[in-house]
Symmetry: C2
């Protein structure tokens, strides 16, 4: 027996921890989880499809979505808007399907304010040292940028206070398993099921 | 990274729901979970081993355990005592290993009073109708006994209020998977991990 409403699962964590990789690996599994698609005003890159990678919007369209409260969260980076359209999320949940949102820490905080009943998962590096090597591993950052990232990561670690779960990303496969386990366990939570089961007893 | 203390997992549920079968199937999995061994004053049956199936105790020994508060819970059935020795449970948890306790509903209630930080899982039949057919399936009960069992089951269903999780036993394999998922998820709970992670940041 499953409860009727789907879960909103928010996967977040510090920059460089591998949110995208873990989320990508999760998508390869047969999970029955939907994936939220972000809206953005940035131009599509080669191969990106509207409604798949992003919902590509004009600046005016995006600002109208902000105005009409149609975004679960949004932010501005490098003169472009990015945000999570709320309709797709609520429609999915209402259909009884789970939906996962992969999002940076500030965005997750905003989602938490708006949708506190979501399941908030913080993806953690095995250690800050390893976080450092992962960032260095990208090979595109200077020492200064890395040091700044480390400072940011420390702040972000403190932000894990707001999360329900902490999943260590020691191995992508293991992180994926843990996330799947969390989703399964959340569906077994007594609070979610008790009303339905009570009906079962009444009907007999 | 794992938190240092193991979890006490209490698996309970109405009579006839298949606690023993599910627990037996869970034992076949590579779970790293220990299993609690009950103490009893009843005589060993053919093939039963002391310390494996039960700790076989004399009436005097058992009453001394009660007196010395050495039982997490105990009860008397058909002139015999049954109970859960507390030392094995706490030693296992302190070693950082999880331990599972398969126990009837009244016993689980007593464990909850004594160890509220345990993870309480209620094993549910897909419906009371199926619970009935399972009991009938045993072929050893009269209609009267069955009707009485049904009444008891209804009471027990109300008892699921005290549990953290409800696992439906529609298929043994699925029930086992759900229990394993719950254990994994519980180890990812933010409250369990945050102190350890905070140390990580301090050390850097």
């Amino acid at each position: 027996m499953k409860d009727d409403k789907g879960l909103l699962i928010v996967l977040s964590g510090p920059a460089g921890v591998g949110k995208g990789t873990v989320c990508g690996a999760l998508r390869m599994e047969d999970t029955n989880i939907e994936y939220s698609v972000s809206a953005t005003t940035r131009k599509p890159r080669a191969g990106e499809k509207d409604g798949v990678n992003y919902f590509f919007k004009s600046k005016q369209e995006f600002e109208k979505m902000i105005e009409n409260n149609k975004l679960l969260e949004w932010a501005q980076y490098l003169d472009n808007y990015y945000g999570t359209p709320i309709d797709y999320v609520t429609e999915t949940i209402d259909k009884g399907k789970d939906i996962i949102l992969e999002i940076e820490v500030q965005g997750a905080k905003k989602v938490k304010e708006r949708y506190p009943e979501g399941i908030f998962i913080f993806l953690m590096p095995p250690s800050l040292a390893e976080l450092r090597s992962r960032i260095v591993g990208r090979g595109t950052e200077t020492e200064d940028v890395i040091d700044k990232r480390m400072m940011v990561a420390k702040d972000e670690l403190e932000m894990m206070e707001n999360y329900d779960y902490v999943v260590e990303n020691d191995e992508v496969g293991k992180a994926v398993e843990r996330i799947q386990a969390i989703v399964t366990a959340e569906h077994c939570k007594r609070e979610r099921l008790i009303e339905k089961y009570k009906q079962l007893v009444e009907v007999e």
